[in-house]
């Protein structure tokens, strides 16, 4: 890694960038600091261990079903009449989203580190059901924490996690409350492994999660070269905590010719509308009151991107002007869902439809026909069917 690479960060203490502007860090209670250092060490050792990496690759292939295809969305492309649009089909992964790349990696790491119990938080329940699947596979008990608002709207993931043998801990609220609660449970059981679901929280999680998800971008490069003879001109993904998008762009961070757009839910668009703050273990852009006392932000239909804050790598990349960040409304996501269901026969989760909306309504049309846009299509729609029916069900009658 070169000195001027965007891939070098974060430093040992989890900082992306330097000086006061650095993002990330470790803002947690003393009880967990040893666990975080242990995890850092375990992570750095593991990724030098070829056997471990081979094990990860093995299960990526056989259990998750990787590589996920890079799919030319021909009908959507023609409908929009501009850029050539590709979907990175993460929704075809076992358990239905990109989350399992990370769950698998972290559970394998926990196993390597001799951990026997797991905790996780979840927003859309994708991370919970993915981690529960992997936990079953590696025979470790799991407690998953979720907000009651999310529990209602993504019920299937809860049932699946339960069938895999995981226990659910319900708290009032959504993802941010689940994260705070998960940290509390971890503090009470610091010998457990906390399987963090996005590129958020204290170091080393943002780095570790981005590492696990970076397989997405590596495959995009290979597949795009093989299929199109070049890498994409633009990569777009939704951003909740930012893990799928981090995974999609990491490979291309040092290639400024690849334009990168992360799309948040407009109700919780930390990068577009927030300011730097320190909450939930990290310094990063977030929506909070001026005095720093309260997190803010409304509700998006995308349960997994209803998060007032964002992973620190993205705050850094925003400050570096290396990546652009925008946001999409509920209506835009629903419109994108409908268009993609009907043109491509893909029932997507709502979260990635934030990215799709950016492409459909703002990016594709005015681009030349050989301009390649790759969308991280990071989740399938089963969990959102009730929500979609409730809002635009009549459109399909």
């Amino acid at each position: 890694m070169t000195k001027n690479s965007l891939k070098t960060g974060p430093d040992e203490l989890g900082y992306y960038g330097e000086g006061d502007a650095a993002m990330g860090g470790m803002a947690v209670g003393e009880t967990l600091m040893p666990a975080l250092h242990e995890l850092s060490k375990g992570f750095e050792e593991a990724i030098k261990d070829k056997e471990f990496l081979d094990e990860y690759t093995y299960y990526c292939k056989h259990y998750i079903g990787r590589p996920s295809p890079l799919y030319y969305a021909e009908n959507l492309t023609k409908k929009l009449g501009g850029a050539k649009i590709f979907f990175k089909q993460e929704h075809l992964n076992h358990t239905g989203s990109h989350k399992i790349n990370n769950s698998l990696f972290q559970v394998l790491l926990a196993k390597r580190m001799g951990k026997t119990h797991l905790i996780c938080e979840s927003g859309a329940g994708q991370h919970f059901s993915a981690t529960a699947a992997v936990a079953a596979k590696f025979n470790m008990p799991l407690i998953g924490v979720m907000g009651d608002i999310d529990i209602k709207r993504v019920n299937q993931n809860i049932i699946k996690a339960k069938h895999y043998g995981a226990k659910l801990e319900a708290v009032p609220g959504t993802l941010k409350e689940a994260i705070t609660s998960a940290i509390k449970i971890w503090s009470s059981n610091p010998e457990y492994a906390y399987i963090c679901g996005s590129a958020v929280s204290s170091a080393p999680f943002p780095k570790l999660v981005a590492f696990a998800q970076s397989i997405i971008g590596k495959e995009i490069r290979e597949q795009s070269m093989e299929q199109e003879g070049k890498i994409p001109d633009m990569i777009v993904g939704c951003v909740g905590g930012g893990s799928n998008f981090a995974g999609a762009i990491y490979e291309f961070l040092d290639e400024p010719n690849v334009k990168k757009i992360g799309v948040e839910a407009s109700e919780t668009a930390a990068l577009s509308n927030g300011t730097p703050g320190i909450m939930q273990g990290m310094k990063t852009y977030m929506l909070q009151t001026d005095d720093g006392a309260k997190s803010l932000g409304g509700m998006s239909l995308g349960a997994g991107i209803t998060y007032f804050s964002v992973g620190p790598m993205h705050s850094y990349l925003k400050d570096q002007k290396a990546v652009s960040y925008s946001s999409a409304t509920d209506q835009e996501m629903l419109d994108a869902y409908k268009m993609i269901a009907q043109t491509e026969g893909i029932c997507s989760a709502l979260e990635p439809m934030a990215g799709a909306a950016e492409i459909i309504f703002r990016q594709a049309k005015d681009k030349p026909k050989d301009y390649i846009i790759c969308l991280s299509l990071c989740g399938r729609g089963e969990k959102d069917l009730d929500t979609i029916q409730e809002h635009i069900g009549k459109d399909f009658e």
């Binding site: 203490l13 209670g29 003393e30 009880t31 503090s187 009151t289 001026d290 005095d291 720093g292 997190s295």
Partner: protein
């Protein structure tokens, strides 16, 4: 380093200092001040005045409920600093530690925060989620130190000796020895564990040690005092008492009595 804290721990009586945690401005700024005055009058050596953040990650259900109450009433760090000033006006000997999370300090921002609390009369700050790995901890610590104030550091059961050395090296005022892993007000502290932990710390430093988490009754406090620590910290027990008696007109006085039950055991 706070001279007042130094003086408190140098004083032979009480043998074990009572450090009591109150959620600042809870249930209201006025009652909060009354409660704290009673605590002072009944022998508390050091006050921890909690300021609130919505994402507090170390608080159990009792303190969380009090935090939510204060946040919902719209009181913020500025109001807490005003409360500190009122306390200091009332009493010049009690130690005052502001306790909370880095979120609010960062936004205040830190340098102004230190200026303001110095003027208000605080002695120290304890930031739950600011380990020495955090840049803002370093800034805060430096600013406090150069203003004659202390940053209270914590040691947890999970903190190994190597790390403990680093912590005691930078500790000031006293060391907050966390008795149990977890959030406030849930688990109970175990006497033997605490005694061993105090010994482990004592091997490395002479700094006063205050032992907190899981001390629920005067009896608990007395037991913990035997561990060799210099102070015991009681938080959730007082906050719970306030919660349970919030409608009671005589709450300050009865809280004072409760505090006295503790201080009596620690003389």
């Amino acid at each position: 380093m706070s001279e007042r804290l130094d003086k408190i721990f140098k004083s032979p009586a009480p043998k074990t200092k009572l450090v009591s945690y109150f959620v600042g401005c809870y249930p209201t700024p006025e009652i909060s001040l009354e409660l704290i005055k009673e605590a002072i009058d009944n022998g508390v050596s050091i006050l921890e005045i909690g300021y609130c953040t919505s994402e507090a990650s170390a608080e159990g259900p009792i303190i969380k409920a009090a935090h939510d109450h204060v946040l919902n009433n719209g009181h913020n760090l500025k109001d807490i600093i005003k409360l500190v000033k009122d306390i200091r006006d009332y009493n010049q000997d009690v130690g005052i530690v502001l306790m909370g999370y880095i979120a609010n300090l960062y936004k205040y921002p830190i340098s102004k925060f230190v200026d303001d609390i110095k003027v208000a009369g605080a002695d120290a700050v304890l930031v739950v989620d600011a380990p020495h790995e955090l840049k803002e901890e370093n800034q805060l610590r430096e600013a406090l130190n150069s203003n004659g104030l202390s940053l209270i550091k914590l040691a947890a059961p999970t903190t190994d000796d190597n790390r403990l050395k680093d912590i005691v090296d930078i500790a000031s005022g006293f060391l907050y020895q966390v008795n149990v892993s977890g959030v406030t007000g849930v688990k109970s502290a175990n006497e033997i564990d605490v005694t061993n932990f105090v010994k482990r710390i004592r091997n490395l430093t002479d700094i006063p040690i205050c032992s907190g988490f899981g001390i629920k009754s005067p009896e608990d406090a007395k037991k913990m005092a035997n561990s060799g620590c210099n102070g015991v910290i009681v938080g959730s027990a007082f906050v719970k008492y306030i919660q349970d008696n919030i409608e009671n007109k005589d709450l300050p006085q009865s809280l004072g009595n409760l505090v006295k039950n503790f201080t009596e055991e620690l003389k």
